[in-house]
Symmetry: D2
Subunit: 432 residues, 4 copies
């Protein structure tokens, strides 16, 4: 199989983490899936992803002490493969995946790199007949989560990864977000120590016969390993966990600058979840996003013109009308077509300008990164140069539609001139 | 001006450094230019570049102690602009450039970032009327060359750069290799401290009205600054000085992996000079290259399929027939067309495989990085995936011409299979 | 208790590791103890230390794959306290300690920082009633040994350390070498992450009522933490594992330079085991030391004039006569008296010179670090300056006894002059 | 000469920098010397030190742009030796030194490591007949001051240092503070690049026949080089520039912890100038110290019990009575006797406790590092242990004089208990 055919555009969907932390259950998944099918599916949103600790009984029950309860007994089958916690997912994931598929959506799950620590200490025999203790690497742990040991780069290790992917494929899983694998900077001695596990996962997916999108987490991914990610995965996080904080959003502009030449069909550098709407409940502090409406537009515009996957971090059923309207601006997502390639025109502490183009089409966006409303311009010369670098062969428009407010913008004396609010943006689509 | 139009393909030419060190003179330049015009111009070689210390009287005269004589009095005009040493270049560079242009070639010079230290200490008034002492940054020096101080990021600093580029443009300079500017890792406090001087140079070139190719040196360039190089320069070194040593050549494969997504029209990550033929005379040890003929083919093939500029480091008039034949293999350079984009298929300690393609065309190369001859293969599936990633839309060939020996290679059972010598390579062009 | 009274001089003894690796047993301990009592006790050798994995059944049985067998079931009591492997130590450590005490010697054991991983995964209740899973820190592991988790800095954690030290004190343990605690550079985020466990161990010893010497391992200890080691421990390794290799021995000179001001009564920076005689059997390759006789003298002289503990790494019963004679040179150990303080006079790539002195006494040593025999000198002026810095108030001798060969050395024209063999040394004691 | 005899106690004096920056002149020096002779000499204050740029005409005249004017023409003799600026020091330093000696005080000057850049560019012939251009290392500059190039480690380089020290000795200089030499962390390639210049200076002083105290600056000095400083210098800065900021003062406690074992007669790790009284005039902002009276006592007490030199940074003639009273507390300086050695008993974020002792005497100090007044205690057991480590053999007192307020403090139930103000301290001297 060619992994670049698994997702022909950056995946758009929902992920349980930002709202539920470790406490998501089947009811919540169903409610969000139903909402997506009704309100967002028609414009491209399709993935429903269950994040961390679905295999952990009592997850979240000691939230004041631990995000991840150590030495907790995880739910596994006889071969040391993690299974969903029956208290939260009584029917298991197979039927749940089926329900989601029936809604016309796709089903994704989170996994941790490795094999359960408990399986090694209990010497569970894996599907290939090898003791889990021979598969686990006792010196390879996750710095922040106590569940797993890394898997050794051996035949038995590959067989273990094959066995879990086979199981997940049999459930109908369409998307795997593997955690603790993209920038395991735990050991100074081995900063990219999850490298062989990325390869093992990719091989297991290739063997399983199901086109499962592979998403790597957390970041920041190492730019020096770009070729390796592109060889084996579909998405990789270019940032630490992103939250609803302007400083993180502003910083994402240089992350996108760094990765802009690595966006292509099947290869999506990932800016992390969209922090819109309600979030934080599972963390003990339900709240509305701290991003202003202008910042939310900036986030959606940057993710889209750059080409990041789009994953909602909120509880969708609680979306207010204004936010839903933002999310239904399909023309913004049209920029994500990987046939077009992104390019930053300029960036400094106060502003950033981007285009995205292929031979026939283009978009442009102006971002005000400063603390005050300012007039921003885009001259035809700079624009033309950037467009040519991305292969655009057409003419440069003299009128544009501004995609967030629908207004028309006219070029005057070789320049677009616009007022852009603090932290806000304008996205321009040519009227040709 | 759009700097991406200054060199529509990676520059091919000759540079005086590897053979002459600091001792090149007008006679040597003329002899090499004449040779190029006669033997290499027809297939695309065109730049003649004079490297370091052309402004230094007595350069090379104390080679046992110093490569660059400190506190030497450099030749300057009244405005602190360096001029060629009259002992070596009695007519100056204007007439020399004219001669080279008359041969149908282009003329390039090396400069050091900055303003002569001596000009600051002598308080020379620059063309804009400002004292050199106000332009020079006394804490910005080159770690390995004593000639210059960095230029401050001020209006007067820009005016100084404008003044030198104006002078060089008036001479007919087509190409400037600026040294000590691409990875000035002297100060831990400021690892990319030449950044503003790159911008000043680019601005000065833009103002001067002449399309002067800007080449940045030394490397390794910082991948985090890729966007910045692409914004302002045409070439930037991705490596420390490259010499005729297999270990450096093998290492270049990962450097090319790192930079493969940054090659486009007007933007050429630079693998440094080709170490073929005779070299080293100015360093006191004239020698033939230490690279074997197979290694030389590997070098030329990698540079070309990746898209690096090609600059000969040898004394051309001493080229033997075999080497000249290598250099006249035009089909190899055909790969350099920036309309095509390179992609590494795989790389490990023993082998590397690359393709280069656009919508309609492609090339493939197999490199044996091991110490023994080995059979190497290329399967259609892997090839197809890589070609699609680079936008190839045509069919995959079942026969190829092997570009170094002209033989025909046939696909059998979905695979090309070939014996490749140790450190050698095969470059394949489809017979379609 | 004042830990500085637990060892009034640097401990001298034997450690099982260099010869037995993880395979030492009671018979081996007894044989070495008997040998020490008979041949070395009279001149100060007294500690018998059992090194790593005495609690691990089958230790060494999979030596081709693992030095430390992961997920092995360790021998523990009901409270998660490690006990000696009954197959190798059928009577346990209490009676063995008694035998060793009866020989007039002292008994030491090695421990790993932490609590057995298995105890946490099995949720064993510790002596204080708290579940081991609440005491273990799941993200604190040893990079090279799979047995333990670090202990959290909590009351229950302290109680666990108290419980093990209480048990070991009840057995009659006189010396504890705690491993993975002195320079746990596993996590870049926490380079000195064992710090609180050092404090907990020191407190536990203080409470137990028995003067147990605390030795920290491995190194290199951090010079920035010197005060902390001195506050809590008696010995700390200033080096990675030392082996019988001249390069490591030569390097020890700068380590001693670095730590020379931190030697005092009860505080002994530790140069690691003496690599003399036979070693390596447990590692699968029994061998005689690779150090030449001159290098062995250099090692003993440096350790002694600096003030390091002296621990034999060999199988003592296999000592040849020549080595035993070296070890019986009591006058060398006389230098270790912590009332005197060491001082390096000079060191370069070819030589090093040291003194050790108090108000009334002094010693001097000349070390030839070069590859050839050379004449070395010591002038009275330099000597006098160094002696004064260490508080010596007496006169400077004009005759010396050379401690390794017993010859007399005379000062001529204000200087001692001597021929010293390559890698060898001369140790001088004044004849006053 | 034995450099350890040049200053038998940590030097106490005045330095022009904190008040005058680069603008000090003869009148200011005289006024401060006169003040010291009258008000402070009797209790040990004796050095008058002229800090940076005494050789620079117009120093301070462009303070808004430059602290150190680049490419300024420095005052030199015919042999490239810097001389005092005649505008500020019309009689030169010889007569000024004489005046100061006549007051019973000592005379010190600041120098920059190296040889004037201008001397090299002008090819001045030095006293040994060698061109300054051959002595200067063009790649060795100071990161923050433009005056000098480093001196090469050659015979001619040594001769240059000999020549300047000879000149300064002839003037009657008693103290040299050499700058840019103690922690030249400019080049990652050579973090301790001034090392050979320290040795050259020490040699030059040894040859000159005058006991000139050598003080190294700036810091932080490298603890790994402690032995080297002790071998060649009398004082070395253990900190970056210290200013009147509580955070820097609090941080000094760990710096003192780090260096406490390196204080001995002739060897004084240096905490930098005392920031009391009026300061900052030359910087353009004359101000009173930002340290509260309690913080000032803490500073004086820490410097003294640790054993740092004491250099006043203020304009002495403007001292108010309260500050003068602080400075005249002679009993505090009695702690500085290098026969006693300092020892930290404990330190955490809230408090620090120190003793200083020899066989017969001791002092103790309690520092409140927290933001609130707190009760602090000192138990006899801890005190006893620390005193024994420093060799104290006498009895432990049951009554103390508190040196800052003269009150008597009594031991109760084995403990001293005291209330100490926020950022303040108590210093205890036994009543025996």
């Amino acid at each position: 199989m060619d992994k670049n055919t698994f997702a022909l555009r950056p995946p758009m969907g929902w992920n349980s983490y930002d709202y539920y932390d470790t406490t998501v259950d089947a009811a919540a998944v169903r409610a969000n899936a139903a909402y997506m099918a009704e309100h967002l599916k028609d414009i491209g949103w399709e993935y429903i992803v269950i994040d961390i600790e679905w295999f952990a009984p009592g997850a979240g029950s000691r939230r004041d002490e631990h995000q991840y309860i150590p030495f907790n007994s995880l739910v596994m089958d006889a071969y040391a493969r993690l299974l969903p916690d029956p208290a939260r997912f009584p029917e298991g994931f197979g039927p749940l995946a089926q329900e989601i598929h029936d809604l016309g959506l796709k089903f994704g799950i989170h996994i941790m790199r490795g094999i359960p620590r408990e399986a090694a200490h209990r010497h569970i025999r894996t599907l290939s007949g090898v003791d889990a203790a021979e598969i686990a690497d006792p010196s390879s742990i996750c710095r922040w989560n106590p569940d797993m040991y890394g898997v050794k780069n051996t035949e038995a290790g590959q067989a273990y990864y094959d066995s879990i992917i086979e199981l997940y494929a049999s459930w109908g899983v369409d998307f795997i977000k593997c955690d603790d694998i993209c920038n395991t900077n735990m050991y100074p001695h081995a900063p990219y120590s999850g490298k062989h596990e990325i390869e093992m996962l990719a091989k297991a997916i290739d063997k399983c016969g199901r086109p499962i999108v592979l998403s790597l987490s957390p970041g920041p991914a190492l730019i020096e390993q770009a070729w390796h990610y592109e060889k084996h995965a579909n998405m990789w996080r270019i940032t630490d966990d992103f939250w609803d904080d302007w400083r993180l959003l502003k910083e994402m502009f240089w992350r996108c600058e760094l990765w802009q030449d690595h966006v292509s069909c099947g290869n999506y550098p990932d800016c992390d979840m969209l922090t819109l709407g309600k979030m934080g409940k599972g963390f003990g502090h339900e709240r509305s996003t701290n991003l202003t409406p202008d910042e939310q537009k900036t986030m959606l515009s940057l993710w889209s013109i750059f080409g990041s996957p789009l994953m909602l971090g909120c509880e969708m059923t609680l979306l207010d009308d204004a936010t839903l309207r933002l999310l239904r601006n399909k023309e913004i997502y049209d920029m994500e077509d990987p046939a077009m390639r992104p390019k930053q025109i300029m960036r400094d502490d106060f502003a950033a300008k981007w285009i995205r183009a292929d031979e026939n089409r283009y978009y442009a966006a102006l971002f005000n990164l400063s603390e005050e409303e300012r007039e921003m311009g885009l001259c035809e010369t700079c624009l033309g140069k950037a467009l040519r670098e991305r292969g655009y062969k057409g003419k440069i428009a003299d009128r544009y539609t501004s995609l967030w407010d629908g207004s028309t913008v006219t070029v005057t004396e070789g320049k677009v001139k616009l007022r852009v609010p603090a932290h806000g943006c304008v996205v321009l689509k040519p009227v040709l």
